[in-house]
């Protein structure tokens, strides 16, 4: 039974606990932004070198919605640039995910494929994807394709390694159970091995989407003439540090959203793993 005071509190503050946890979560970021604003306005550094959050927000607002033209050439171009970057991430990531899962499953499943293919991949893996930039440019020119190639390189290995691990870690008896129920080798792969490896594959996909954004931005700084990374680098040349920071914020936001998208997909696909997924890992 609730006491009268408890009922009263429940009526007036239905989500008191919820509000408290929200405050708990945003207190530190708010404080940091406030300190930054105060420091930036104090004049300890020229404001051009460390624009206050309010200026960054102003630049971002104009870049997004073209309010007063303060972002100059970029006024109102945010969506176009964000889409350009996102398309590159999506294309490179999709190719990497498809190839990484297929090849990773094959390597994890078959000793013969592992012996023939894996050493080559392990030799390529330590080469940082960014060091491919010169070759990417001479092979693919200055446009989307070198960026997609780099994104692919960065996203491929995390998916591959995690898929191999997931496939190799499968309980042998699960395979035996499948064979006992009359599964062909192809059915073992599609109906048992891949589903069983999915938690590990998703871990790889989440790492991969982070790499994908890192490499898109890098590629856009060097080899492409559009996208959020290009805006960031171009603003640096024009000493628009408010725009530089606005671009950084945008990249962070886009990266967060794509990771969130994968997390949502993961929660759907790995519904059976209730306890772990619900806590949001």
């Amino acid at each position: 039974m609730q006491t009268a005071s408890e009922r009263l509190r429940a009526a007036f503050f239905p989500n008191l606990r919820w509000v408290l946890t929200k405050i708990e979560r945003i207190a530190v970021p708010l404080l940091l932004v406030a300190v930054w604003e105060a420091f930036s306005r104090s004049g300890a550094l020229p404001q051009a070198l460390l624009p206050p959050p309010s200026a960054v927000l102003h630049a971002l607002g104009d870049w997004m919605f073209g309010i007063d033209g303060s972002a100059q050439d970029y006024s109102g171009t945010w969506l176009r640039n964000a889409l350009a970057s996102t398309m590159r991430v999506a294309a490179g990531f999709a190719i990497a995910a498809a190839l990484g899962i297929v090849l990773g499953t094959a390597i994890g499943w078959s000793r013969a494929i592992e012996a023939t293919v894996e050493p080559t991949l392990q030799m390529l893996r330590p080469i940082p994807p960014v060091s491919w930039i010169p070759l990417a440019i001479i092979w693919f020119g200055i446009a989307d394709r070198p960026a997609i190639f780099l994104v692919f390189l960065g996203a491929f290995f995390p998916v591959l390694m995690n898929t191999i691990h997931g496939v190799k870690a499968i309980d042998r008896n699960l395979i035996r159970a499948g064979a006992m129920m009359g599964a062909s080798e192809r059915q073992l792969l599609t109906d048992i091995v891949v589903p069983a490896a999915l938690p590990s594959i998703f871990a790889g996909l989440r790492i991969a989407v982070g790499s994908a954004w890192m490499l898109t931005v890098t590629a856009e700084m060097v080899a492409v003439k559009s996208g959020v990374g290009y805006v960031l680098w171009d603003s640096y040349y024009f000493l628009r540090y408010d725009m530089v920071i606005a671009a950084m914020v945008s990249i962070g936001l886009l990266g967060f959203l794509s990771d969130y998208g994968i997390k949502l997909l993961m929660a759907r696909v790995l519904r059976w793993q209730r306890t772990t997924v619900r806590r949001g890992a």
């Binding site: 008896n173 699960l174 035996r176 006992m180 129920m181 009359g182 048992i192 069983a196």
Partner: protein, 258 residues
């Protein structure tokens, strides 16, 4: 009619670390009749699970041959249902989908699978849990799913590898009673591996006592104590004394030989 014929089975494993061969099963022959409930009884590591895995087709004998219904066993197949020591269910599938997995592999549609699975879910007493995932059920309930999954294939033979070993004493007794009830209803051949003398005598119509490694059949005998079997009855105790005597005799023989 001989449902399962085990002929001079020898199995050696290669211990790669020590570079030597280990003899796990030594010249085992056993004939199992249609509708027998055979308990392979033996201590841990005596090769009884290895023998079962060879009947299932998971492992191949070093020499000798196994025939099920006249067919030489070469690989696993749906004519031999296996219930594992751990439930070994697909954790991403619900109870109903796990039970019907065999039908999915055969390409049957969802509605048809669901309808066929229901009878077996009811049979093992899991009505109402069709949509649950294995992670939401207890060990005993998951083992019931494993049994339903094997039964659904309507196999000639069901092979069970200490399926109740990980359960608590009370659940174990319940499951043993249910298994006997199910076996009496559907009438199939069961080969049941256990290290528990009591379990073997509660369940089996035929008991094969195996020796410590290398595994041999010490003695195989029919056991037709009427059911329900009372574990405290004099007849049960006589049988138990007899089996324990065999095991003790074997231990003494080994000690003398050493």
């Amino acid at each position: 009619m001989a449902e399962i014929a085990i002929r001079n089975i020898v199995k050696t494993f290669t211990d790669r670390q020590r570079d030597q061969d280990v003899l796990a099963v030594d010249n085992v022959s056993l004939t199992i009749r249609d509708n027998d409930f055979v308990c392979l009884l033996g201590p841990s590591g005596c090769g009884k699970s290895t023998l079962l895995n060879m009947i299932a087709g998971f492992e191949t004998p070093t020499s000798g041959r196994i025939e099920v219904a006249g067919q030489i066993v070469e690989k696993p197949g749906a004519d031999r249902g296996v219930v594992f020591q751990q439930p070994t269910l697909m954790p991403w599938l619900t109870v109903a989908e796990n039970v019907a997995f065999h039908l999915k592999l055969k390409g049957l549609g969802r509605a048809e699978r669901r309808a066929q699975a229901q009878a077996f879910i009811d049979l093992v007493g899991l009505t109402g849990f069709e949509g649950h995932y294995p992670s939401e059920l207890s060990g005993g309930m998951n083992q019931r799913v494993g049994i339903a999954r094997a039964l659904l294939m309507n196999p000639r033979v069901i092979l069970m590898d200490e399926p109740f070993a990980a359960l608590d004493a009370q659940t174990k007794i319940e499951m043993q009673e249910e298994l006997v009830r199910i076996w009496e209803r559907i009438r199939c051949t069961i080969v049941f591996v256990t290290h528990s003398v009591d379990e073997a005598l509660v369940l089996g119509t035929r008991i094969a006592v195996m020796t410590r490694r290398p595994g041999r059949i010490r003695e195989a005998f029919d056991f037709d104590l009427p059911r329900p079997r009372d574990v405290t009855s004099p007849a049960f105790n006589d049988a138990k004394r007899n089996v324990l005597g065999l095991i003790r005799e074997e231990a003494t023989r080994i000690r003398h030989a050493a």
